[in-house]
Symmetry: C2
Subunit: 453 residues, 2 copies
């Protein structure tokens, strides 16, 4: 047993008590009545990091929920690891579904229940305790920076401002984000890819004003008709997106990733019945479920506006219709390039009698972490040692806008969480398995040690 493991074992009970104290602070960032609690949580984290021997600890952007910034003792000649996490939590509603109150942490059957247990207090605290565990005698193996924000659940505005204002402060050799989950129990995974996003409103206009379908039905163009034709052309029933050039920038997953994904415990039938809860899965059938959700772009319609949607039977021919749509993007697509491709496709595929326009609302580039990078190899080694199984390089179909911002200087961003898929983040009875919390401390501690070797 290593020194690290022994330390975690002997101090484990204290670590858990400290985490409970952290969880008792109802730091709900979206609720203005909890602004004081968010500040208390920030101060609690600041005091922790001071107490653990960080020579420089400060609260940034303190006009809002502050960002905790801390620097560990300087270790000349060693790499720098930036640890990112957040102390804010989701609202606990609906309260009546909690078995025990959300801000009164309690252990039942090996799980610690509380709002924020896994997202993200438990996980970021595991990283803090990992630092404590390897910082014995004030000599950590690497240079450590902490960046722990309080607006992750509400837009990360202050963080984005800080990252763009002071990019040099977050220069690092690796960024460790402990805010995700294992693929399955005993299946540690690192998300090596995140999809990007291109969200747009497509509007078609076919006449100056709405028209009466009795008088003009049969000859007047119908905006919803035009939109339906356009949308049906933009994506084929087989799931292929008909936007010229869209797929050319798509980088297929590596052989190593594919092989990793094949090994994952996955039951398509169960996925369909229990998660998607539909009659059938859709999309490009020649690709696996993982490829379709992690490594291929999507085109989704979110809603259609215009015409008459009230109660009853109004026989209007709509003059204009708007669809809210979005594309999920994958490496190496670029949001800006996809915007141009979408505009071109919309103009080419819309019926000639319609005027079309596209307005972009929101977007993000996709993220890919090179799994041959050294930090990835080291986290894999840490998991192998602690869990007995190395990391599966999974991806996420979603977008986490803070990730590309954290990695802007080229450092690999390692999304190495220790949550479990049934942790119920954002839902009642959120929990973290106590065992996973301790594993997190050991894995992150080993990672810091390996980085310093």
């Amino acid at each position: 047993m290593s020194n690290l493991d022994t330390f975690v074992l002997t101090e484990g009970s204290r670590f858990l008590d400290e985490l409970k104290a952290f969880l008792r602070i109802p730091s709900v960032s979206t609720d203005p009545t909890h602004a004081g609690d968010c500040r208390r949580a920030a101060e609690w984290v600041r005091d922790q990091l001071k107490h653990l021997g960080c020579p420089k600890v400060e609260l940034l952007a303190s006009e809002t929920h502050p960002i905790v910034w801390a620097e560990g003792p300087e270790v000349p000649g060693k790499p720098t690891v930036l640890i990112y996490g957040h102390y804010d939590v989701q609202p606990p509603d609906p309260l009546n579904e909690w078995v025990s109150p959300p801000f009164e942490p309690v252990v039942r059957d090996g799980n610690l229940y509380a709002r924020g247990a896994t997202d993200d207090k438990g996980q970021v605290f595991a990283a803090i305790k990992a630092f404590e565990s390897v910082n014995r005698g004030g000599r950590p193996p690497v240079n450590v920076r902490f960046l722990i924000e309080g607006q992750e659940e509400s837009g990360s505005t202050a963080l984005f401002q800080f990252l763009s204002r002071e990019p040099q402060r977050t220069v690092a050799d690796a960024v460790l984000v402990s805010d995700t989950a294992y693929y399955a129990p005993k299946w540690p995974s690192v998300e090596t890819g995140l999809r990007g996003l291109c969200y747009a409103e497509i509007t078609v206009r076919t006449s100056k004003t709405d028209l009466h379908s009795g008088l003009y039905g049969g000859v007047a163009p119908n905006a919803h008709d035009a939109l339906v034709q356009l949308l049906s052309r933009l994506k084929s029933p087989d799931g292929k997106i008909n936007i010229p050039g869209l797929y050319s920038a798509v980088r297929p997953p590596s052989q190593a990733e594919r092989e990793g994904w094949k090994k994952l415990p996955f039951n398509e039938r169960k996925f369909l019945r229990e998660e998607v809860q539909a009659k059938a899965l859709t999309g490009l059938k020649k690709f696996s479920i993982f490829e379709r959700t992690w490594a291929l772009p999507t085109f989704e319609i979110h809603g259609i506006m215009g015409g008459f949607t009230g109660e009853g039977a109004k026989t209007v021919i709509p003059a204009a219709a708007t669809a809210k749509v979005s594309l999920r993007l994958v490496p190496n697509q670029k949001e800006k390039a996809v915007q141009k491709q979408l505009i071109r496709a919309v103009k080419a595929l819309a019926p000639k009698f319609a005027d079309v326009s596209v307005r972009f609302l929101h977007g993000a580039d996709p993220v890919i972490v090179d799994i041959t990078a050294k930090p990835f190899q080291l986290i894999d080694r840490a998991f192998k040692e602690v869990e007995g199984r190395g990391v599966v390089p999974t991806r996420s179909g979603g977008s986490i806008p803070v990730v590309p911002a954290l990695g802007q200087k080229g450092a690999p961003v390692i999304l190495a969480g220790v949550g479990l898929p049934d942790d119920r983040l954002h839902a009642p009875n959120e929990k973290i398995a106590v065992d996973q919390f301790y594993k997190g401390i050991r894995v992150f501690g080993r990672f810091l040690q390996f980085m310093g070797q």
Copy 2:
């Protein structure tokens, strides 16, 4: 000059004064504050008809805006003509756009301006004055029945109840409805066809709940996708409706109708630019504009509900989506049969991963008047005499639900209005050309005389 013409000429000034008195009553049926005015208008009509020598005059359904029912003197052995019209009017808003106040009738440049001038007080009063003009000495040429309601602008509820409760009372040899317009100045027209309607909501459901497009985009079915696919299949871009059997009941317009339509003064360019105000007309190109709007069924999308239609960028995969749609029906389609055809087509054309349902909200069968019927020939003769040009058998693309109800006993319903296309019904500065009002009295009077010969 006939006796009738002479009478109209000598009494014309009085007729116009009486019409002005009728127009001064603000009988807005949709506005409860005008309930008393609606009653006053009904009583005014009742008193007119009594004064003109109708032996039986009564107010029906007087718990609401009453229906005026009157029977002319009995003329044994002669046919019966039922005259339908309405005394209620549309609200006058927006008031500030009226050149003269809506309920202070005034003649300018040969036009009488007031709310209800053409829709329908001026026109129904022309029919009443026609009766007066041919009822000299208490001996009209035919048996006349008046049915003048006060809910035409608000659903005709009382009228429908009366017609289904006492169908024998409205048995007639012809029904004269004076509530429509010439096709163009000097182009009298009778609407010989009205389209029916089948209004429905088509709902597709693809999963139990909305899903996150990051996690499930690429494999989860999208309800809007399914609806768009379905709708794009239900109608081809060329305008053909892909509902099996839909066109088989369609009776093409007669040779006489087609020839009449060809003669009508119609400018497609002007129609497109000034009425439809679009880049192009749509629909089945091998048919004329008249055929497409009067003699062919349509399929229109009115609006699409479901998913996310609020401000901003929510990346939801919708679990359900509903389209409001309607079909206009033409002779000899039947609403009930079309409902079944639509359900079958929706089930056949929807993607297999979607559950579909259809809910019907509203409908009406189409109406066709046989232009070889005697009353039609006689109204044609009356117009020839008065206007110097016979009737063009036009149709209307819209639905007037009261028309099939009035003709339920097989009597031809003659929609022979004397309005003009620029009368601005339902809009500010509604008017009737004074000349058209007098022509109406003469045409309807001659029609009653011809019916009695």
